[in-house]
Symmetry: C2
Subunit: 475 residues, 2 copies
């Protein structure tokens, strides 16, 4: 426990100095972290590969992505819009008279981050939660994922070299560290990427605090794909098989449900494509066992039949991609269980007769990070698309057209969230520029002396940030 207390107390102290540094200077420091990560890529990837079996290409790519995340948040800080500066001048003539009120976002305090298993860089110690919290002006204490402790230590040491104070990035290890971290009175918010069970446990811990703090968790997603009759079966099958098996299916955006027309050869093409895939070794023994158990449970369900199985590949303990099939009616009978995520390269192909039949079943699916539509030239399915889209945009945070959900661009517009269990806070995202908002809280200053106002809220706008003044947004 002492290690946790020390990490949180150091973070609190380091955070007080960090949030006093102007945003533009914090931006430069974040770019320094990006440089450090790239500079140490040759050391970082082999350590991660030994722990995760993800291979050099993927891991180098992921280090690049992690560095880009630091660069994006440097841009966000320089832009200044995340401060959301709003100025309402006093109106003494109003009934009742209106005071001068100015609001902006401030860092929430020390953020606890639970690292994910499946992205040892991009969703781990130096991942999206950490960089968005640092950008917000918060210090972070990460609970390392047990699947890659050495990668976590090495990453932390690389990042710390580029930070003004190593206390800004605390790191604690061990499953038992989670409880005391979440309960610590100086921790003001929690970020989490992991399983539904793990996230539910963290939520329970937060509820037991005298002051339940915000919980931003990404807990699971089945990512439905709707294939309309106008889509091309061979293209869909090839894309699906590739997306399903990317990273041995260990993506939170892995497509777990594919709805296809019962005619047109979609089922057969998908079966053939998956049969031609190769699996691989999973991240940890626990994830490996969990996948085998989930697939066995699925195979035993009366509503589904096995459609195809890929090859295992040469790796020790490699798992095989698996795809099952069910009619829409049988699938509906098997809900809610058949709508649950199976973490790994497994999916159900659900066959429908008419696209209009989908509208009754799709709303019964749990919330997802993504939902995908495949279709030919739009006009052909205009009616079907309209109805399906109405349902999908209440079901998922990102809608994809003729593409695949795996791969999440790190940009201003990205939204990586959705209704429970995709996210515990559906108004927020864990990827993209808006992820910073989770670690910011607004503070309004009423009739505050000009000399004591933060620069973002001063009339002269010395920092040149976007301001909304008396109702008008100015950039």
């Amino acid at each position: 426990m002492t290690g946790i207390d020390t990490a949180v107390e150091r973070a609190e102290e380091a955070g007080a100095k960090w949030r006093a540094i102007p945003a533009a200077e914090r931006a430069t420091i974040l770019e320094g972290v990006a440089d450090a990560l790239l500079k140490h890529a040759d050391e970082l990837w082999p350590v991660a590969d030994a722990e995760t079996h993800l291979g050099e290409v993927r891991l180098r790519g992921e280090i690049g992505r992690t560095a880009s995340q630091f660069r994006l948040f440097a841009e966000v800080l320089r832009d200044g819009g995340a401060a959301e500066a709003v100025i309402d001048h006093a109106d003494p003539q109003a009934t009742p008279p209106r005071p001068d009120v100015r609001r902006m976002n401030r860092p929430i305090g020390v953020v606890a981050v639970f690292a994910a298993s499946n992205f040892p860089f991009a969703f781990s110690v130096a991942g999206g939660d950490t960089v968005s919290a640092l950008a917000a002006g918060c210090a972070v204490v990460v609970k390392a994922h047990e699947g890659h402790p050495r990668t976590s230590d090495l990453t932390a040491s690389v990042v710390r070299q580029a930070l003004p104070d190593p206390g800004l990035l605390g790191l604690v290890h061990g499953f038992e560290a989670g409880g005391p971290l979440v309960r610590h009175p100086l921790v003001t918010a929690v970020g989490f990427t992991g399983s539904l069970a793990g996230g539910t446990a963290v939520r329970r811990l937060i509820d037991q605090r005298p002051d339940p703090i915000p919980f931003y968790g990404e807990l699971g997603s089945v990512n439905p794909v709707i294939v309309l009759p106008s889509a091309d079966p061979a293209t869909v099958a090839a894309g699906f098989a590739a997306s399903l098996t990317l990273g041995v299916g260990q993506f939170c955006t892995n497509p777990g449900l594919v709805f296809v027309p019962e005619v047109g050869g979609f089922e057969r093409e998908i079966g053939d494509a998956v049969a031609a895939t190769t699996g691989g070794r999973m991240l940890t023994a626990k994830i490996h066992d969990g996948y085998l158990r989930a697939v066995d449970l699925l195979a035993a369900r009366p509503e589904v039949a096995r459609l195809a199985t890929g090859a295992a590949g040469a790796a020790p303990d490699a798992v095989t991609p698996q795809v099952f099939t069910a009619s829409l009616e049988a699938f509906a009978d098997g809900l809610p269980e058949l709508g649950e995520e199976c973490f790994g390269p497994a999916a159900i192909v659900v066959k429908y007769r008419d696209p209009s039949d989908l509208s009754a079943v799709l709303p019964r699916l749990p919330g997802s990070l993504t939902a995908t539509v495949h279709a030919g030239p739009e006009a052909e399915d205009a009616g079907a698309v309209g109805a399906v889209v109405q349902v999908l945009q209440r079901l998922a945070g990102r809608l994809i057209w003729n593409g695949w959900p795996t791969g999440v661009a790190v940009t201003w517009a990205m939204h990586h969230g959705g209704p429970w269990p995709a996210s515990t806070a559906s108004a927020h995202t864990s990827v993209g520029a808006a992820a910073i908002r989770r670690w910011l809280v607004p503070v309004a200053y009423q009739d505050w002396p000009a000399a004591l106002l933060p620069p973002e809220l001063q009339d002269g706008n010395p920092l040149g940030v976007p301001q909304r003044v008396d109702g008008r947004l100015r950039v």
Copy 2:
């Protein structure tokens, strides 16, 4: 239960049509509601007065405020910034290639609103939660407060006349209605203004859902006031006594703790000012009994002494304003209990020796909606102000200079929130333009056909809303 199911199902249906109406048309409808409320003010206030004893002047003023809230959200809709439209064009040259991603906010679905007792118009059936949810494109089902059922019915009928579909504003009555409403599968978010106990119960109900939904609650606030040595004792005392007793102390922003220098006559002036006040009849028998019980408990605490008591006034069952006193050390010994809100016209005056002594005690207070500083010309207390402000802006959502927390301006910049228990979601506000954000969820569209994009996300920007395009905010 049938009544609740019917209300929610009607709301779901009405909401589907409502969110399809362009924002500018929804704005006009909201202005129609404002007009209807003002037109019916002569009928509304007497019904509310019979149930709440708040009097004509206050209630007419509150109807005006309620109407202004509808007008502010009409402005918000016409501005279009709440959609938060973000467009990132594709970048096929990037590594990895970047798709076209566009994000905007969409209505979350049916919102359940728990009305407050203390503002029968502005925080009730037609209050801030309802209007911000309607503005967001959501239908609402309100659980009426038991303290003013007839006012609730009459308000609902007035509002419904101005809405395109009465199902957009459902209304259910009775303490037992809360559970089934929160558990209803079609309810997607909950707004709540009320007690810590009530809010904790609602949170527990939400946790028991298979899909815990967002909970935006305002549960209590003690609103500390820091009086620095340079402030004028008579001015502070007069302002404090007026704020403490406004509406018989039944404001969520009522100042419950005042920190004053032990020298300078602050304590005596405050005692005299409160002794000269008059109390009144409270909103309900339950609130009345709760106030008496809380004051008795406070009076029995060894850390505090009674400083002054106001007059009861002529009203039946009227309560008296009460003010207690404690040294900073004794107060600190009595935490956390002495930091809890006592709903009604009661407060503790805490005497400190040196402003620097406050920094150790203030962080131990619970989160508040507001924190106030009283000081003379700034320079005199520059050092003290700096240290105190650092603490206060992590403790409260709104900081007030030489004013009083009661009275919350309905503007773009207002923030009415704070750390728990002031709010269950400290990134959000329940008053002011940003309150709409609680009922919106982002949806990102990836490589989506232009013809199927919402107008807010089209390249031509046909609605002229603020858009962030490839990282640049444009208005």
